[in-house]
Amino acid sequence: MKYSIFSLARAALSGHKGWTRAWRDPAPKSRYDVVIIGGGGHGLATAYFLAREYGIRNVAVLEKGWIGSGNAGRNTTIIRSNYGLPGNTGFYELSMKLWERMEQDLNYNTMVSQRGIINLYHSDAQRDAFARRGNTMRINGIDAELLDAVQIRKELPFLNYDNARFPIMGGLLQRRAGTARHDAVVWGYARAANEGGVDIIQNCEVTGFVRDAKGKVTGVETSRGRIGAGKVGMAVAGSSSRVAAMAGLRLPIESHVLQAFVSEAIKPLIPGVITFGAGHFYVSQSDKGGLVFGGDLDGYNSYAQRGNMPVMEDVCEGGMAIMPMIGRVRMLRQWGGIMDMSMDGSPIIDKTPVDGLYLNAGWCYGGFKATPASGLVFAHLLARDEAHPEAALFRLDRFRRGAMIDEKGQGAQPNLH
């Protein structure tokens, strides 16, 4: 059913009785050409692109809970392509371009809102690092502006310029960045993949791999029985190590909890996305009016999907350091997601040493913005057995070779990325 204001008006006349499922609820078939594990944004986008771009329609997405129940359902929805290292810049810009046409591609309003992101800087050294990054972006055809103290005041007059512990000196602005309605992205891809013939199977947890005599993966064991597969792609984000372990693989990944917070809904207060450069705080305002904000990882390995108090305090301290007008705004909800933090802070999209098993992992706290491009390049890899040109550096063996993509320069300590 095509969605539009007209179909909506028509449906209203019949009391909205006519709407049907946005995606089917099929029983699993015994075999698929491609099985994707993980019904998050990446898994569903991969299935969508397999069907639409690569003509592979006998595809299943297996999700252990409800689709979007992982990080796709609990992130702070920031999309941007302000990366500085080769490998990242091109890939995230590809993603940005796909965001820009997502609603039309999917016939689903995912509320992509290019409200801009400003990364504040508070020292000359930070300004220089942003200048390097912004120039990289421009060289790669990505929009970027470096704002100085005067310009930043004009853009964000409400920040603390009087008595901030770390003075606000300027910011790196990407106007095309912004936010998108995260759940809608999941539902939009699910609906479009479903239309392309993909089976979306919820409450179906993968519990093991089926392998032939040569070790090739030929299917998966699930809570709903064995399902055969020509190829299996993993897109399980925070569960990457656990699923990989079922195939005997160890990954350069640790799982960490990242929290996010939302305030009560208030009338429009802040324009776009703002990140504090001398503390851990970033914020945007949702369409519903809540300030959606977050900060640093809790810092220790965790699969608990919930956070603790110190980081919440740290984040609010950051907020009150630069934006003391939010003091009386109340925090409404605090939650946590499990990040698959890679050893250099960048993703891995590659074949694995196990024949037939493909890996899409290591998204850290930044994989939401990657959703469309991740789906496209992973579909490419699954369909063609070779890396998409924009994902050519996201190799699993890069750590062995020393070819890390380390934007923050923190090295092999995931909780610092």
Binding site: N301, R400, N415
Partner: protein, 102 residues
Amino acid sequence: MRIACPFCGERENGEFTYLGDAAPKRPNFVVDGGESPERIEDAFYDYVYLRDNLAGVMREYWYHGGGCRSWLVAERNTVTHEFIAVTAAPGAGAASAMRAGE
């Protein structure tokens, strides 16, 4: 989270910093020890990069930097955040210690 430092007692986790899995052991590299550079690099690659990333009880390094400056080895459940035991690293304090892991 509260961590029971074997020296200081139970403390707020803000006093500690986390390093990660205590299972990987630094390979013993002897100059001209006869091993191929490839193999040594493999061993270090394993040590520096690969992790079991357990969901469940894991042994891990914590540093009581906000307190007694001891490195600790904690057994903690990564699913419930519950600490099962916390002990001192072999070289915390002055007791004669063997090389770690030996």
